[in-house]
């Protein structure tokens, strides 16, 4: 839609048809409902499109569609959705809340489903429960420093390269698109991003091996196995690199040995 000079043409509209998954609860049967969405502004975000559909449902006396969302600027990780079978839709490096309707074409039929994974049970309609991610973090996704027990920040220099790569990994927003996109519903990208964030920097070293073993094994309680498809990184709105999974796998193997040695076993 960009015009000359990088300036967009504003004010266009689209007429769309949406097939949206509706489900009353985790154990209730679900099905697609079809909605017509005429006169949709190109400048609208995908979630604003759902707002409009909901507004019309309420005015017509119906129950609106539940979907997760909050910051609407691509950082809280709350929004989700499979849009035409792709987590957060077809735009690369974009969350659903940042997906704008100018990326669609007049007359499109758009299918909207919740993220699908056994570890993300449907709560209602398009809302899923992603608390298994919190369980992985609770298993070791932290550095154990109590408040106040630390020295001056500049006493621990961190090589810039390590800090930058750590930040690349820490950019994960915990949305779960990686899991939803994976044919195995694996959470390697999420788990490895947190491990790389903490394991790459000096502050994370004391608990490195313990953390790695605990987080990987907690992950495996909930999620499937990685078979290196790479769908996760393709779907990731923050473009977290697949390299972190390799990093995690290396650290995990080392951890199995080192954690034995640390306790005096050979």
């Amino acid at each position: 839609m960009s015009g000359t000079n990088g300036q967009a043409s504003h004010g266009g509209t689209l007429s769309l048809t949406l097939r949206i998954w509706r489900q009353d609860g985790p154990d209730a049967p679900g099905r697609f409902h079809t909605f017509d969405a005429p006169n949709i502004s190109e400048d609208m975000s995908f979630l604003e499109l759902l707002d409009i559909i909901n507004e019309r449902l309420i005015e017509g006396g119906d129950v609106p569609i539940e979907f997760d969302h909050d910051c609407r600027e691509g950082i809280c990780g709350m929004c989700s959705l499979m849009i035409n079978g792709r987590a957060h839709g077809h735009e690369l490096a974009t969350t659903t809340c940042q997906l704008h309707m100018r990326k669609f074409t007049d007359g499109d039929v758009i299918t909207v489903e919740p993220f699908r994974a056994k570890a993300f049970p449907v709560v209602r309609d398009l809302v899923v429960d992603r608390s298994s991610f919190d369980r992985i973090i609770e298993a070791g996704g932290y550095i154990s420093v109590n408040t106040g027990a630390v020295g001056d920040a500049n006493q621990t220099p961190v090589p810039k390269e390590a800090a930058d790569t750590s930040m690349d990994a820490a950019a994960c927003i915990g949305c779960g698109a990686c899991v939803a996109a994976c044919p195995n519903s694996a959470a390697q990208l999420f788990t490895s991003a947190k491990l790389a964030h903490l394991n790459l920097i000096p502050q994370g070293q004391p608990q490195r091996w313990e953390r790695t073993e605990a987080m990987v094994e907690t992950m495996e309680q909930f999620f499937g196995s990685c078979t290196n498809h790479g769908e996760c990184t393709e779907a990731c709105p923050k473009e977290i690199s697949l390299d972190f999974i390799a990093f995690m796998n290396r650290d995990y193997v080392k951890a199995k040995i080192k954690n034995r040695k640390l306790t005096g076993q050979s």
């Binding site: 400048d43 539940e66 809280c76 490096a93 920040a153 500049n154 621990t156 090589p159």
Partner: protein
Amino acid sequence: MAESHSGGNGPASNGLGNGVLDSRVPDGPMADKWTDHKFSMKLVNPNNKRRFEIIVVGTGLAGASAAASLSELGYRVKVFTFHDSPRRAHSIAAQGGINAAKNYTNDGDSVHRLFYDTVKGGDYRSREANVHRLAEVSLNIIDQCAAQGVPFAREYGGLLDNRSFGGAQVSRTFYARGQTGQQLLLGAYQALAKQVAAGSVELCTRTEMLDLVTKDGRACGIVTRDLISGEIAAHTGHAVVLATGGYGNVYYLSTNAMACNVTAAWRAHRRGAYFANACYTQIHPTCIPASDEFQSKLTLMSESLRNDGRIWVPEQLDDARSPDLIPVAERDYYLERKYPAFGNLVPRDVASRNAKTVVDQGKGVGPLRNGVYLDFSEVIERDGHPAVAAKYGNLFDMYERITGENPYAVPMRIYPAIHYTMGGLWVDYHLMTTVPGCYSIGEANFSDHGANRLGASALMQGLADGYFVLPYTIGDDLAARLGEPVVPLSDPVFAQAVSEVNDATQRFLSIGGTRSVDWFHRELGKIVWDCIGMERTSAGLEKALSEIPALEAEFWADLRVPGSGANLNSSLEKAGRVADFFELAKLMARDALVREESCGGHFRAEHQTPEGEAQRDDENFAHVAAWEWHDTGTVQTRHVEELEFTEVALTQRSYK
């Protein structure tokens, strides 16, 4: 201005309210107050801490850091969030950075300078002692966060990098790319996760606080609704900490997340917590202008962009030319022209008001003529595309995703939007509200920013309160209650509160009108933005006070909340929040109307200097206004806390 009846709190002192609020600011020299007070406060023996149960509501920077720190000390903590995970709190969206008086850049920073800048930036309407403490603990925050593994930007030598921010002439802002809030929140969230794993914090997600419970005037618990099952339940504790954020969403369009609301704070207000300085709201100067009427929220572009972008509008009215076709001589770089010393880095309120002035003059740009240019062509030419991309790449990408325009090629369009609220629950030096046992921390309280918050100070305050202030002050109050059991859930105060929340829920579901909650919220937001926005007038505020109640009456008559209360129902959640926004909006208008001066984010058009700057009235208004709730239908009573300035001389702010 009619509400000066005593309400049992002593006579009105000066026609503006009465001064009965005890701030509990300790005596002694400013630089020693906090240190001395830490020594004089009572302590709870480590083994006795586990005998106290503390409820924390909210898991943003303030709530998560407080919950983690309190539980590390040994208190039993129960923490609540309406999100699915503590990590979703809106602190996550802060982009630019966090201030600390480390003076790592050797440019003359000090605790005193950060204190001074913050008091001045707040337009002399904050409590000096609180601000000084904030500046002191800013040092500890950076140490704590770095030790947690927050990936702050580093220099090549491995040490921490700093940048400058609006309202300061030193580089004291620490940052993690454009995602500082995210990284600090993840640090606090991970500290909390560590305590959850250790079994010393009970975490309740997708659970919203809907009432504060008091017994004999003291906070003893809360009532919540489980957002998935709809179950309404009571929770008991020795203390309740509200870390529930600000109320910017009263404007409907703001940079707040969709779920941000005033409900927890407001329900506490209705139970006796005074609400202070409601009219102090902050407009952020660099947001993306609205594109159409369906816009659900506004997106902020970090203020750090003003370090390198130049702000301008065409000289000519309704100039429809493409910006690259407007010669420099026909552009007005109005901030650089009016404020040569600070230029594009003037504080937020000054930058915002000047943008409004030029847009109101008809010089606005963009399809709706509702923005000003923020132009990077000069810095791109000087430093090159890669250098600019390295610094601002993610912000430029975000702008392009939203607007479809490439900011490397054409200037960004920006316009102010509501971003932060300095007002909130009144708290004393211990961060306790006027309800004993009920505390408020972070944006939810009114305390440290006065009438205007400087950039990179919100993260600082949230973490100061949670990591380094509340964990000390709460002990002083709890020490005296050692041996007292919590009020049992069988006590009638809990049954009564639960039943009232149940009734309120049923009331929303049974109105059966024709309009959605969002419709009412949008209409309310328009009134609040027009009348209690960037510029307020007596006539506009009176208009708000007649239009808001009329719309509120329509809300209670014509609202439609479909579905039931027994499962996930976002319309029902929003209905309660918007009902509270109606009451808050009226208070904001009253607070703004009584405050016959301009200060910081509160600009009364009747009170300006000949140059159009905010004109304070220190004689009559160097005070905090804290409002006491009586009942629905009765106007709140205005109380005042006089502000004393012993360290910073009151002057007209000047950034020229």
